[in-house]
């Protein structure tokens, strides 16, 4: 990122502003992404297992899961780079390969390093522009938009990781698509870059576009997304509004933590101790927690909604395979 600053110094606000200035409002044709019972096996290993979810337009949706959980494979199936063994994945109701203007419909950044190191960033984009019938003037626009204009004629092999990420993002934006599908877009970006990308993606969704982002930078995701879809070992763990999910836990301070924990767990709740005599309970309405504590004769000194961090939730979701999918609709 230091390289970028040397060649094209731009403030984060400036980058975001430049991004907005260069944007043309994207038409939203209701391009929801739909993954329906998708299964993918490599050899004897199932990497995506009967996965079903939807990504609505006009929102930023985070796609979360541990390494090897099947996120990239799912994205590749959506983009017809990999074939599903079962189920269907569609964009606006059609398979990617059936779209009349793929580059003008979906902007994708699926491989972080899909560049020839001996080719300049500008030529990489010109090649894509040629293939998709996009005018070359648009290449200059997106290079400005991602703050890479100053380094556009340098060989990609000399780019930093962050600059490559920006180039990948520029390629995704080239066709001014209503759908953005990005795998780890924040990787290697400095804080200014992360902020500029966040602003760009939020603007895109605000204009009606569909933004589907996988990331392991949970703190960043927490600031970026409206909804989350969490998978583990290829299976859906949870999906819904991030705000609702964060508030879906209750904090309990009982006189008998161990006794209440076993009572609630027996009733299907996910119970974790915070180590200070308090329990964080998920998967059970707060009123039911009170009723069951009362029924068990355990006094409560505190019972309140608990807004945890995304990291805390993520670790809870992915620590073990749940028996059923938790879905919260906004």
């Amino acid at each position: 990122m230091a390289d970028v600053k040397e060649t094209a110094p731009t403030s984060p606000a400036g980058a975001a502003k430049a991004g907005r200035a260069a944007r043309v409002p994207t038409p939203n044709g209701g391009h929801a992404l739909d993954v329906v019972h998708v299964t993918k096996r490599y050899g004897g290993r199932t990497v995506v297992d009967d996965l079903t979810f939807s990504v609505p337009p006009g929102r930023v949706t985070g796609f979360l899961g541990p390494n090897g959980s099947g996120k990239s494979t799912t994205m590749k199936i959506l983009l017809d780079l990999a074939a599903a063994d079962g189920g269907q994945a569609s964009i606006g109701g059609r398979r990617y390969r059936e779209l009349s203007d793929p580059a003008g419909t979906v902007g994708a950044m699926i491989e972080s390093d899909a560049f020839h190191p001996g080719r300049s960033g500008r030529n990489h984009l010109r090649i894509l522009a040629d293939a998709t019938g996009i005018r070359h003037g648009r290449v200059d626009d997106v290079l400005e938009q991602v703050d890479l204009a100053g380094a556009a004629d340098r060989r990609v092999g000399a780019y930093s990781l962050g600059m490559r990420q920006r180039l990948g993002l520029a390629a995704a934006l080239l066709g001014q698509p209503p759908v953005l599908l990005l795998d780890e877009p924040g990787n290697g970006l400095d804080p200014q870059g992360v902020r500029a990308v966040r602003s760009l993606l939020r603007d895109h969704a605000a204009e009606g576009g569909t933004v589907f982002v996988s990331s392991h930078l949970l703190a960043e995701v927490e600031h970026l997304v409206d909804d989350v879809i969490v998978i583990n070992e290829g299976r859906l763990i949870t999906q819904g509004s991030l705000a609702d999910l964060l508030e879906s836990a209750s904090l309990v301070r009982p006189t008998d933590p161990a006794g209440l924990a076993s009572t609630l767990e027996a009733a299907g709740a996910d119970v974790r101790s915070d180590g200070d005599g308090r329990l964080v309970v998920r998967g059970m309405p707060i009123s039911e927690i009170g009723d069951r504590a009362f029924g068990a004769g355990i006094a409560l000194h505190e019972l309140s909604p608990h807004a945890g961090s995304l990291e805390e939730l993520f670790l809870a979701w992915t620590a073990e395979q749940p028996q059923q999918v938790e879905t919260i609709q906004p």
Binding site: D80, L81, A82, S120, L128, A131, G133
Partner: protein
Amino acid sequence: MTMSRLIRSELRKLTTTRMPFAFLVVLVLIASLTAFAVISGTDMDGSKSFIATAGDQQSLMAFAFNAFMGAGLFGAIAVSREYGHNTVVPTFLASPRRHRAVAAQLVAVAVGGCVLSLVGAGLTVAAVAVSLLTTDYTFLVSGGNVLRVVLAAGYCGAAGAVLGAGIGAIVRNVGGAVTLTVFTFFVAPPLVVQLANGTASWMPANLANVVSGTIDDVSQLGALFALTVWAGIPAVAGLVAVQRRDIV
């Protein structure tokens, strides 16, 4: 319209890296070695009878098999590095109907192989013509035969590049693609000849010489067709493989 866009894109890929220039350097080296051979080389008896006749000089200038091999490596590297560098991902995102993208790739490498081979043949002819000035012999090859040598190189270059590109699409690894291409040129033909009698005339080196007009084992048309088949088999196999394969 779509195909012309894709071909333009593939041609830009070929011209925006240093690879073609590396091949140009090799062509200059080959021409220089040919000139050196004309200037300094002698037969066993110390004479220069190897350049005494028009036929000898035409054989010396015949660049078609060199073009077939060189362009084969060019095509193999050009396509296999797409997988090595993952640039095949944006390619297939831009053109999810992969057969179009691969067809455009084949056309582009054919054009690239043809152009490089024409340049190589031109340089070789020029090297022979200039270096003959240092000997007691004059340039004896007719204009028509010079044109034939150059055009044969161009055709063989295009065919070789398509063959290499097909292998590159199958193997997807530069080292493996280059190895298999070299195997196809040097190891496979003798094996085929040993296994099937009477096939020697249909091996690439022989066919290239027929097209160049230096031998006439088979008909011109037959040689052109056979070279096309040599190139077409791996190209079609590559096309099929790419259609079915996941990009992981």
